[in-house]
Amino acid sequence: MRKKIIEFRNVSFRYGDEGPWVLKNCSFEIYENEWVAIIGHNGSGKSTIAKLLNGLLFPQEGEIIIDGEVVNEESIWNIRKEVGMVFQNPDNQFVGATVQDDVAFGMENRGVPREEMKKRIIDTLAAVGMQDYRLTEPHRLSGGQKQRVAIASVLAIAPKVLILDEATAMLDPSGRQEIMQTVASIQGREKLSLITITHDLQEVAQADRVIVMNSGEIWKEQTPREVFSQKEALREIGLDVPFVAILAGELKQAGVAISTEPLNHKELLEDLWTLHSRT
């Protein structure tokens, strides 16, 4: 039996007392070591979930339990130790004057002793491949590098959950790839539940499970492969279907017997060049 890290119990949320409900009666669970992608178009409530998980917002109805503790005003400081978050804008979350100061910021807030901080700065920067930039100022880094530093500063406090809230949305394609690779390698190495929030279907391919949000409700909870196969329905709720999935669909319609729903170019290629030997 896997250990539950996060549990949403019938959570509803709205901004202010008059506003429309941003989240409507959402319930889901996230387990230890799991990679869950939350996807949805703008305004589907996905970023609100991230802020609720960190105690930046509190739900009006229902409750959120993180590692056995209900999220409320008293528990947020403990919760923030367990749940680390990387935001969208690389510049607006960089607090320190240099890379190492920024990684230290979260630890300083928790009163980690200096020697321990120095050790963890070196370890976490190595984990995201930024060890050569320890003394660099933020304006000399690319967006992708800044986001990697942001991930390092979250890892430095050794959380149980890492949330990436559209952390790649403001990056160029190479920066995006940089982050996804970093995240995948960290998830493979550390005991960490990972939640990636995105509106880009391509980024959910590596996740264990996908939660698809639509106007404040959980629309689907499936594996990436299952999600990719429902092209029409995805388009209806305003998500862009990746090119590979479209191509695979067209090939199928044209009578090419593709065996699985491919998640990336490599899988489709594999499928196509082995096609002849199978038939």
């Binding site: 960190n54 930046l56 400081w77 923030r80 130790k81 680390g84 978050m85 935001f87 804008n89 510049d91 607006n92 979350q93 960089f94 607090v95 320190g96 004057a97 240099t98 190492q100 100061d101 230290a104 910021f105 979260g106 630890m107 300083e108 807030n109 928790r110 009163g111 980690v112 002793p113 200096r114 901080m117 120095k118 700065i121 100022e137 933020p138 304006h139 000399r140 500063s153 979250v154 406090i157």
Partner: protein, 267 residues
Amino acid sequence: MNNTLIIGQYVPGDSIVHRLDPRTKITIIFFFVFIVFFANNVAGYSLLTVFALTCMLTSKVPIRFIIKGLTPVWFLIVFTFILHLFVTKEGTVILDFWIFEFYSGGVVQGFAISIRFFLLILVTSLLTLTTTPIEITDAIEDMLHPLKRFKFPVHELALMMSISLRFIPTLMQETDKISKAQASRGVDFRTGPIRERIKAIVPLLVPLFVSAFKRAEELAMAMEARGYQGGEGRSKLRELKIEKRDIFVLILFILVVAGLILARMYG
């Protein structure tokens, strides 16, 4: 955008002046500003000049950076000198020209004031040339620490300073971007009467302020998410340490002060 942008005037280096604890440097400069006005004879001024020049030479900061620091005040130094020439009516007349009479006292007084100015600027610019802004912030936080007892928000002040310093290049890049965007829409920043040019700043400032406020909001949220809850119970990564060289330099400075007092008493 300029990638080599340096905040302040810091010139990286590894001299003893660079490596001194910033608190030592600030303390010395604080008292230096006072004792400059204490000198009143040739011996006193020479002592201070020798001290300042020694600092300058040991810092190994290229001379052109120091001259650059002095450029805005050259005018002031020359102006005060000339003013003293005309106004001071002490000593003997050394030159009688048309309706003006120049006195020897004026020349001496002019020199003295100019030297004072020169020394003040030289020493203070040495501080910013050899110390990073973040070191200065740390030093100020540490030195203001006693004020905490009077509920003075020392930690908050230091954090505000360091965040402002960190965002200066970011906001400059943003200004550059906005001004290019607005120029491409036909806003003219460079030509036309001054009134028009001032008006042209408005479409630059408004988006800049809007985005700065948005940044502030997001930064506050990111800081909170990373467990920031004020100065209580925080540890610090950077540490200031008084080393042997700091004590050595402080003793040297005290000797200079003592020498100056002697020069004033017996000079």
